[in-house]
Amino acid sequence: MTNLTLNEDETMLVDSARGFLDEASPVEKFRELRDAGKAYNPELWKQMADLGWTGVLVPEDQGGIDMGHAAANLLAQEMGKTLVSSPFISTAVMAATALRQVADNPRAAEALGKIASGDLTYALALDEGVKHAPNNTQMQAERVGNGFSLSGEKTFVVDGGSADRLLVLARTGDDDGALTLFDIPADRDGITRTAQNMIDARDSAQISFEGVEATGEDVVGTVDQAMSVLSPALRAGQAALAAEMTGLSSGAFGMTVSYLQERKQFGVLIGQFQALQHRAAHLWSDIEVATSTIANAGRMMDEDPENATLAVSLAKAKACQTAKLAVMEGVQMHGGIGMTDAFDMGFFMKRARVAQEWLGDYGYHAEQIAKIKGY
């Protein structure tokens, strides 16, 4: 039976991840990246590959450890706690999930191997408007001879500035669902990447495509059938992102509780103020509840992937609310110091805001849930 607690392997994974990240990537490492204007630390990425994390969803045949989505979520959750910045979700979760849908294709298999070894990063070029809406894709992939010519604009391509390759969603027909997913190198002729100056200081790009050529080989899966490979990848990314946000919530909450235990005002520890106690207790409850939805999403994706959409949207919707509350309470309870750039809480707030939008915000997932439940 499905069990929502961690099994032994998972407990070990979490413990070792925490130990590694506390050493290799505490929040101050993110600050260093931010101050240096860097998207992520390639050395850390290499270490994560050595630990098997980049291959957490890659089949063993391609050199991965194939631990499944629940494990991927746990890694994302631990990374969230100290705001690790890396292409983990884009590459190791989403691209790996998309490519393994067609793992019998030699090119996909090769890419999976390189993801597992840490030698290849991906970004997903999906959205064109200010809100997540993959089904509204307008970008055209016109048939030219045996291939395609891609033209259009993508925005909010997370990790898009640094990724080696792009998974690009484009329209190949007039029917609503006639979309195709292309796997192309990010430096192919006709591609222009413009860095977006993101509030969370992570890598995001606006990417324009002008007559970019693609061959049939570049198609992931089948023409006009993007969603059969993309949907599992989106679900995987949404769940991992929800996990990262829940980790982020825990991280912010941990800082806040520590502050309540040490900061004095009016001669007493502010943690003695009952109003703050109750709000902290409420927030803790909310994080516990969110954590359950993450565990459930992981189990569903591993055990019954076809029916996991509800579980995933539930996790992302809940994580959006919880993270918003956690960072708002975090700043408010810290008072003025929480507003300063020299203090870390602002990083949590800004990361949470971007994560809320990426891959569908609360409203998007709420409507997904309503649709599934027949409202």
Binding site: V257, I369, Y375
Partner: protein, 390 residues
């Protein structure tokens, strides 16, 4: 036991077959409203033959208390088997055969603190729905401060003579026996002089008076003890250490009131109620609140599952159960506000088309008060879970 426990698939198949054969169709309406609950007890009047038949066939097979040991009337299921049992009940929308404070509260206390003789004596009648129990904790004016027990038991050698008053005793007027906190050492510190006693509500000196609630119903009573004789062997645990038992039970109560096990609207699907009200949910604020509530309901339900899994795995839940109580009862209130809103003017009538909805709605307001208020739960979390000072 007619179920093959060697593997989960086999077990599920057996359960399914057994249900097909034994669960009356009328008991598969899934609508576990306050009115449809089977409470059992000496004076119980079955609402239908089907209800009686369903209780009996389950009791015979230990399925009213499936996780209790077989020797005490249970089925001895482990956590995974219980999940399968419940999921198969859910699949056919079957009602629970029996619900009672004996099952939720006294049973767990006896299983943990009782002697083998006590278990043999008290548990099987609970599983068969023969004895209905009530809980005597709260006293007038004490409110959330449960340990300020004034009802006292005077030691008379082989028995105590109990005098005092309880309040908020659920269904005391319908119960056969009571488990009560009684002060047996008035000189000891507040938490140290209380004993956990059991006695028959038909004992001389016991009387009850129903309390009418804002919903018009009277599920609670004031209960009076006037020189009630309680034999010394009718104590659970050690004399003057009844607070340990009470604390243990409060944890169970919290989990129950959180919506995990009670019939208090827990089974009412949000979508179903809204559809019954004929609401198309096109209006943004109602739609948005319905979805938000649904999200919270699913999330809390998963958390109850997760905590149960954790408990079954041997890791205690402890004070964190305060969270289930808090989140579950606040959610239940929110949900019933939504139901009322969806029901519109029909839900403003005691006997309108939405049935017991308005009474249920008012009833939920007590959820965050009884069994420890939401405020007490938050204080438990902040002090004992988060370690905040003072």
């Amino acid at each position: 036991m007619p179920f093959d426990t060697t593997n989960p698939e086999k077990f599920r198949a057996d359960i399914r077959a057994w249900l097909a054969e034994n669960c009356p169709t009328e008991m598969q309406d899934g609508d576990s409203t306050a009115d449809s609950i089977c409470w059992g007890g000496r004076n119980w009047t079955f609402q239908s033959d089907a209800q009686k038949q369903w209780l009996n066939v389950c009791a015979e097979n230990g399925l009213t208390c499936p996780t209790w040991p077989q020797e005490y009337g249970g089925a001895g299921f482990d956590r995974d088997q219980e999940k399968i049992w419940l999921s198969e009940l859910g699949r056919i929308n079957a009602r629970l055969p029996l619900q009672s404070f004996g099952i939720w509260m006294l049973g767990p206390a006896l299983l943990h603190f009782g002697s083998h003789e006590q278990k043999l004596h008290y548990l099987p009648p609970i599983t068969r729905g023969e004895i209905r129990w009530c809980q005597g904790y709260s006293e007038p004016g004490a409110g959330s401060d449960l340990a300020s027990v004034q009802s006292k038991g005077e030691d008379q050698g082989d028995h105590w003579v109990v005098n005092g008053q309880k309040v908020w005793t659920s269904y005391a007027d319908k119960a056969d026996w009571i488990f009560a906190l009684i002060r047996t050492d008035k000189d000891a510190p507040k938490h140290k002089g209380i004993s956990f006693l059991l006695f028959d509500m038909q004992s001389e000196g016991v009387s009850t008076r129903p309390i009418k609630l804002i919903s018009g119903a009277s599920p609670f009573c004031e209960t009076f003890f006037d020189d009630v004789k309680v034999p010394k062997d009718q104590i659970v645990g050690t004399e003057n250490r009844g607070w340990d038992v009470a604390k243990y039970l409060l944890t169970h109560e919290r989990e129950m009131i959180s919506g995990g096990g009670s019939g208090r609207g827990a089974g009412r699907s949000l979508a179903k109620v809204l559809a019954d009200a004929g609401h198309d949910l096109s209006e943004a604020s109602l739609r948005s609140e319905a979805i938000a509530c649904d999200i919270e309901e699913m999330s809390v339900a998963l958390t109850i599952e997760r905590y149960k899994d954790q408990a079954a795995g041997g890791k205690g839940v402890g004070d964190a159960s305060a969270m289930l109580k808090y989140a579950g009862t606040e959610l239940n209130k929110r949900k019933h506000e939504l139901f009322m809103s969806a029901g519109g003017s029909e839900a403003l009538q005691w006997d309108g088309a939405t049935g017991s909805l308005p009474a249920d709605w008012l009833r939920t307001k007590a959820n965050s008060i009884e069994g420890g208020t939401s405020e007490v739960m938050l204080s438990i979390i902040s002090k004992r879970v988060l370690g905040l000072p003072g």
